[in-house]
């Protein structure tokens, strides 16, 4: 009746499927990835490396459910047996080939671009006409476009590469041919290669591929075929030149292919055929299996845990046991399997034995029967760990705890915002940024789909799974919301009547170099350039003008200016006419002068924009203030319906209400259109580089994404400020729910904006005020704020115009500000320094901390390893280059591997640099 598989643990079929996948080394096509924009920042473009590990995950979804079958063994002594599919990243190398050859006629030429990796390749290309100065990308003449081409706006063409199964190994080869005539006065063909499945773009040296044809100054190093006589096309040139050139051909991704002398005056040069290959690396997830079985040995009354996997190479099991249900890692009594080492007295490491025949490895662990569980993660190398959905693998060791709730989906890459656990190994990064942005979303979606599958099958055990399914449901709903928002924006953007969307669409479709993600370069250091009193003088812009150079010399790269619009309140947060930029801080012209001054000294400028609410200028017939004036003369349809004070006729608010003013209904098309136009105007007219978004709790993050897409800020961040969790007046150690809410908002914006790390500020308050420095490490040994989960989107701060200044709604513990700055200015995330603190007696200390940060190139994605988190002292190492301690307790960085020298010292804090 039931098919019982006892040994080998892997059923043959399992092994077989897995093997097929690995041997073939192919990446199954995955056309369903959730990629909004091809790429988000230019710097990851180097040398054909896809921005993110792309994907192949999708296909899995369906097959995983087949392989994830868990078999119940009816045998008495094997009481646990489970097979986990394991995903890990594998790089697949391939080649992009570019060839130029002449056809029968001297004037007819053919450019062939090919790629030998599987994928849905699209050539995104345009031409540069002779004599055209401004635009490098133009549409080619019709006759040049191969069939199947689609024009993208008026500057590019997308042509799919056709599959041709040529090569010997049966690998598919994709190529596209473009024929052209030299008479068509085309100076160069520009292109990038796009993999439609993964959304990844492939460029040449971080720039577009450029094939120069005629009259083209050849001094760019992103050119291909720029070298004379580069042809190894059979028969093209003599054998000698072939030999000479060969060594240089294969990998032109190397350091420099332009060793060839540059001759800018090379006009009217004849076209020459060439053929060049560039290597390309695509990262793909590969499925492996991990199976675990537990058997009771009747003679010795011990449990035997058998682990087997087909992951190739050395696999180290990093493991521990737990003696109760707490899942706390402990080291069992000896003996251990051969070759086991003890790691930091907290875990054991055992190298699995290779199986005969090469594929995979196995290990056997003998454990005492009173142990409750076996915990482990797999370590493939220093940077690659495999765990179970962000948690450790947990194998129950007694029959009673059988109703375990393992999720069987394993990810080797970081889960971005979701946090990663690897037992006690808190410090080691798991490819820190791998999970960011689009990629994370995509993987995440896959996980959820799998999770759903599991849930479906798990319904039967209601009690144990009740809570879990609830959580899962919530994350599923969030995911659904995100996907829907994406689908919505695309569908809508192509409704012809909605022409205002043109900006948005153009932004999405432009070649990737130009796209800015709204999250800057990662090296930003912000200065809040005002306080609650700045409006008093009426000439703040002028006053700040005088300080611009100073701010620049201190090392700030971004300044956040006060809200610029006309406002009911002098501080600017009760805006009325959005287009009137004469405020208590100064006039429209003064603002423009100030902004250009900052630009002069190399500082970007953020505008403080209040989008949640707006004060009306007029009363309606009922005497309610809900009719707006100025250029955006909206009426009560622009106001949310669920605040009775203002009798709005819009829809219900998509967020919390700010009760002092009419809340704007962002679900109205005309409102969004007007706001987008306004932001765009601010960008152009004033020169703002980005936004600080006020009170974003008030409306859905998806709208923010819309606004950011339209206004393309260099940097944007939202103020999502709500209360931390307290129990009986004491702040909870675990603020995961709080930071999750901020993360959720960032997610809703699709990661286009960062957010103030209110969680970190709150935890610093408690830690410093009450001398509870242990709070600065979360359960997984990471920073406990947003910065621990999604550092590149966390904007850390300790004080602002609301919390401090003359308002003092939530003031940072007095006298301990420098400890706060020592923390945020050394840690990942983007730190913000408050104006009041800069121009105070803290100035020199802050300045020193900033220079330590800049000197060591610490940035928002730096890694942090917490080395101490005790009652009176917290210490951490950042990027292994900077060590910091705060608190009165004693700490010195260990001088064993590195030598440390003290860089900055102050009241209860010290910062060292590796020397």
């Amino acid at each position: 009746m039931s098919t019982v598989a006892m040994e080998p643990i892997l059923r043959h079929s399992h092994r077989k499927t897995a093997k097929i996948r690995i041997n073939s080394g192919k990446i199954p096509p995955s056309s369903l990835n959730y990629t909004l924009r091809p790429l988000s920042n230019g710097k990851s473009f180097c040398n054909f490396r896809p921005h993110k590990p792309p994907l192949a995950i999708t296909l899995r979804a369906s097959s995983v459910s087949d392989t994830a079958v868990v078999e119940t063994s009816k045998s008495a002594d094997v009481f646990y047996e489970e097979t986990f599919p394991v995903k890990r990243t594998e790089k697949v190398e391939g080649k992009i080939s570019i060839g130029l050859e002449s056809l029968k006629d001297k004037e007819d030429w053919r450019l062939t671009v090919g790629c030998n990796l599987p994928g849905k390749w699209i050539l995104h290309w345009g031409v540069h006409y002779v004599g055209e100065v401004g635009s490098e990308w133009d549409q080619p003449p019709i006759e040049m476009r191969p069939p199947g081409s689609i024009s993208i706006k008026d500057y590019a063409i997308e042509t799919p590469l056709e599959k041709s199964s040529t090569s010997l190994e049966g690998d598919t080869f994709h190529k596209v041919k473009i024929d052209f005539n030299t008479k068509s006065s085309i100076a160069a063909i520009n292109f990038v290669l796009k993999d439609e499945e993964t959304g990844a773009w492939y460029q040449h040296r971080g720039r577009d591929f450029k094939v120069p044809l005629i009259d083209y100054p050849r001094d760019d190093d992103n050119m291909v075929g720029a070298k004379k006589g580069f042809g190894i096309w059979p028969g093209a040139l003599g054998p000698l030149s072939n030999m000479l050139l060969k060594s240089e051909v294969p990998h032109s991704t190397g350091e420099d292919s332009s060793s060839y002398s540059r001759e800018p005056n090379q006009q009217n040069r004849c076209l020459e055929r060439f053929y060049e290959e560039c290597s390309i690396v695509k990262e793909a997830l590969v499925d492996n299996l991990l199976s675990v079985s537990v058997r009771r040995c009747q003679q010795t009354s011990k449990n035997l845990v058998y682990i087997e996997t087909n992951v190739p190479g050395d696999v180290v099991v990093h493991w521990g046991v737990c003696k109760d249900e707490s899942k706390k890692w402990e080291i069992p009594a000896e003996p251990y399997p051969a070759g086991t080492t003890v790691f930091k007295k907290k875990a054991l490491r055992t190298l699995l034995q290779r199986k005969d025949g090469g594929h995979g490895s196995w290990g056997l662990f003998t454990l005492d029967e009173e142990l409750v569980g076996f915990l482990f993660v797999l370590k493939l190398n220093e940077n690659t760990w495999l765990n179970s959905m962000g948690n450790d693998f947990y194998i129950p060791l007694s029959n009673s705890s059988f109703l375990h709730t393992q999720l069987r989906q394993i990810q080797s890459e970081g889960q971005g915002q979701k946090g990663i656990s690897k037992g006690e190994e808190s410090g080691t990064p798991i490819s820190g940024e791998g999970g960011e942005g689009n990629q994370a979303v995509s993987i995440y979606t896959e996980e959820i789909i799998n999770e759903i599958r599991n849930l479906v099958s798990d319904i039967s055990s209601e009690t144990s799974r009740h809570t879990q399914s609830k959580e899962a449901q919530e994350s599923i709903l969030q995911e659904i919301e995100k996907l829907a928002a994406e689908a919505y924006s695309i569908f809508r953007s192509s409704i012809p009547t909605f022409s205002e969307e043109a900006i948005l669409e153009a932004e999405v479709l432009k070649p990737p170099v130009i796209i800015s993600s709204g999250t800057g370069s990662g090296f930003e250091i912000l200065c809040q350039g005002f306080n609650w009193e700045s409006n008093k003088s009426g000439r703040w812009y002028k006053e700040l003008y005088e300080k611009a150079e100073k701010l620049s010399s201190l090392g700030f790269t971004v300044v956040w200016l006060p809200p610029p619009t006309e406002s009911v309140s002098p501080e600017g947060y009760m805006p009325t006419d959005l287009y009137n930029l004469n405020s208590r801080y100064g006039s429209f012209d003064e603002l423009k002068v100030l902004v250009s001054k900052f630009h002069e000294v190399g500082i970007k400028v953020l505008g403080d924009v209040v989008l949640n609410h707006r004060c009306a200028q007029f009363k309606n017939q009922n005497g309610v203030w809900n009719v707006f004036g100025g250029r955006l003369n909206w009426d009560d349809r622009a106001i949310v319906a669920d605040d009775p004070h203002f009798q709005g006729r819009g829809n219900k608010s998509s967020g919390d209400n700010f009760h002092a003013a009419p809340n704007i209904d962002h679900s109205q098309e005309f409102v969004r259109r007007d706001l987008k136009e306004w932001l765009y105007w601010l960008r152009k007219e004033i020169g703002y580089d980005g936004w600080r978004l006020d009170f974003v709790r008030g409306f859905w993050g998806g709208y923010v994404k819309d606004y950011l897409d339209a206004s393309e800020p260099y940097f944007a961040l939202g103020e999502y400020w709500d209360s931390l969790s307290y129990t009986y007046g004491e702040m909870d150690h675990n603020q995961d729910a709080h930071r999750q809410r901020i993360i959720d908002w960032i997610n809703a914006t699709n990661g286009t904006a960062g957010a103030f790390d209110v969680t970190t500020k709150g935890i610093l308050h408690s830690a410093l005020e009450r001398c509870e420095y242990w709070r600065l490490s979360d359960q997984k040994g990471k920073p406990p704020g947003v910065v621990g989960w999604w550092p590149s989107r966390a904007v850390t701060f300790i004080e602002n115009h609301d919390t401090g200044s003359t308002q003092g709604h939530w003031r940072f513990p007095g006298g301990k500000e420098m400890q706060g700055y020592a923390y945020i200015l050394t840690h990942p995330g983007t730190p913000t320094v408050f104006y009041d603190h800069i121009f105070s007696h803290y100035e020199s200390e802050i300045s020193q901390l900033i220079s330590v940060r800049n000197r060591n190139k610490i940035q928002c994605r730096s890694t942090v390893q917490i080395t101490k988190a005790e009652r009176d002292v917290y210490a951490a190492m950042i990027d292994e280059k900077v060590a910091v301690k705060i608190g009165p307790g004693y700490y010195e960085p260990p001088n064993d591997s590195q030598k440390w020298s003290l860089a900055v010292e102050g009241n209860d804090y010290k910062v060292w640099e590796a020397s």
Binding site: S62, E71, T72, N454, D458, S461, A487, F491
Partner: protein, 540 residues
């Protein structure tokens, strides 16, 4: 597999009645044991199924407190069936945009659709419906098919793990503009008699007249032959998906794919959109058919034209004398003669197409359906003029749907019915409309004849309280529906105004509404013929 489970479960039930009581099996009463147990059983076991044997089997064992035998049976079942997500009850589909594929090679908004598919999958939707257009897949010339765009969609759907229902559309659409095949339009320009024609001689050019079904008007081939070849090419091209991803197809039966005459195609003038419509029996082929029929009938004068006293498109039923409430021509022998003939032509046409589809796909493990419109205007008058002009001879004196449903039953086809979102209270008074009663009439006929029903909503932008109404229809005691297709994905669908309520709708369907113990005890009829109605085990 299922048989074996049923068999052994039965044995068990016989033995340990009490144990099963806990699980909710307690309601079987008498003569009907087998069928009932099967139905109940399917709720508990099959409904949840799958994939996680240790848990489900243990769980089952505990509850049933039965011996090893049942455990073995269950895990056997489970290990053999690792994949099925099919849950008994109503499956929920969502229609893809009409213009998903519009130039045969590319998918429009592929990224949006990809994201959308994922969202739907996460929501727990079972599948999607994809319109496949004649005018796109066989656009250029007869027999030259281009399926690549559609195949790509099928692949996308398969990857997300959704099911696919394909609608083969032999009609054109106005919005978005999807024409008939170019070569058909060219033929139509020369010979407009291949189109439906009204009394004033206007042609309806969005589908071929049913009168030419068997005439070799398309370059020597009959439309039926052309449709058949289209279906066959489709079947061959999509064979890898048949039965796995593609679970059903529906065949276009007329205007908008529906089995009807285009009686209401005239754009409404002014405010009145509730006109009765016009008879469409004025193209030369159908007229000659009418003539012949009248001669056979022995009254050749009746075969010269349609009713002379029928109102125009936009007029109300009281205008003119044909549909008059009392003593209208519809009640006199001529009226009966004409309406019988007019409606039988439609049924014959439906029969031709459904049997064509059924025979083409009979070796594929998929269901074949056709769509019947819900002509609900004027339903509360005696003469039901809207239905009459559309070709359904359904009046106060006569059930016009019985014959239609029998035709579906004969071909073992399922019926797609729109209007699940419409409720009487939101209809204007002057239209004498009653979507609810009409729906009830048709579904009753379907239940009687064992024809399965797939529901759809009618209004794209959402009827007032539409979701409530749909839910009511799905959960209704007499529901015969086992599939509901929500129309349709697009910008509005995902907009903040709409999507949250859709999500809410899906979630509320997924929440168990009734504990199995709360289900009425006596529902013999439903259990006998329709085990699929156990809605409380909704789509997971």
């Amino acid at each position: 597999m299922e048989v074996s489970v049923m068999g052994s479960s039965q044995v068990k039930i016989g033995r340990s009645d009490l144990a099963y009581r806990d699980v909710g099996f307690c309601n079987f009463s008498s003569n009907n044991l087998n069928a009932k147990i099967f139905a109940r059983n399917s709720k508990i076991c099959f409904g949840q199924t799958i994939k996680c044997p240790p848990k489900s089997s243990i769980q089952f064992t505990l509850k049933a407190s039965a011996a090893a035998q049942s455990e073995a049976v269950v895990s056997d079942k489970v290990s053999g069936n690792t994949r099925s997500n099919t849950i008994d009850g109503v499956r929920l589909y969502v229609g893809l945009p009409l213009e998903t594929v519009s130039d045969c090679k590319t998918i429009n908004h592929a990224r949006a659709i990809a994201a959308g598919l994922k969202a739907l999958k996460l929501l727990g939707v079972d599948g999607v419906e994809l319109p496949v257009w004649w005018g796109i897949a066989e656009k250029e010339s007869m027999g030259k098919y281009e399926w690549s765009g559609y195949l790509a969609v099928a692949e996308m759907v398969q990857k997300v793990g959704l099911k696919l229902h394909v609608s083969l559309c032999f009609h054109a659409a106005k919005e978005p503009k999807i024409p008939l095949p170019e070569w058909v339009s060219r033929i139509g320009e020369l010979d407009s008699s291949i189109f439906f024609t009204d009394r004033s001689g206007q042609h309806y050019k969005e589908c071929l007249s049913l009168a030419v079904d068997d005439l070799p008007v398309l370059d020597g081939k009959t439309p039926i032959q052309v449709y058949k070849e289209f279906c066959e090419s489709f079947k061959a091209s999509f064979s890898p998906f048949m039965g796995s991803t593609i679970t059903g197809i529906s065949i276009g039966l007329g205007p908008d794919g529906e089995l009807r005459y285009p009686s209401h195609h005239h754009p409404a003038k002014g405010n009145n959109s509730h006109g009765v419509g016009e008879f469409q029996c004025y193209d030369k082929n159908i007229l000659s058919c009418l003539k012949q029929h009248a001669e056979t009938f022995g009254n050749p004068l009746w075969g010269l034209a349609g009713p002379h006293d029928a109102p125009n498109y936009d007029q109300l039923s009281i205008s003119n004398t044909f549909f008059k409430e009392n003593g209208g021509s519809w009640e006199i022998p001529y009226g009966d003669f004409f309406l019988s003939w007019y409606s039988s032509q439609l049924i014959l046409h439906g029969d031709r197409l459904l049997s064509l589809a059924a025979s083409t796909f009979n070796d594929s493990p998929i269901t074949v359906s056709g769509k019947v419109p819900l002509m609900h205007s004027w339903y509360r008058t005696r003469s039901h003029p809207s239905e009459l002009t559309a070709g359904f001879y359904n009046t106060v004196n006569r059930d016009g749907y019985e014959a239609v449903v029998k035709m579906f039953s004969r071909n073992s086809c399922k019926m797609i019915l729109p209007g699940m979102d419409l409720s009487d209270e939101h209809q204007t008074n002057e239209s004498f409309s009653s979507p609810e009663s009409l729906l009830a009439q048709i579904t009753t006929a379907c239940r009687k004849n064992g024809v399965g029903v797939s529901g759809q909503n009618s209004l794209v932008s959402g009827a007032p309280m539409g979701f409530e109404k749909i839910k009511k229809n799905l959960l209704s005691e007499n529901a015969v529906m086992d599939l509901f297709t929500y129309q349709r994905m697009g910008a509005y669908f995902f907009s903040p105004e709409h999507f949250p309520s859709f999500t809410e709708f899906i979630r509320s369907l997924n929440q168990p509404k009734l504990h199995s113990d709360d289900l009425p005890v006596d529902e013999k009829e439903a259990v006998d013929s329709l085990p699929a109605k156990d809605l409380h085990m909704q789509t997971a």
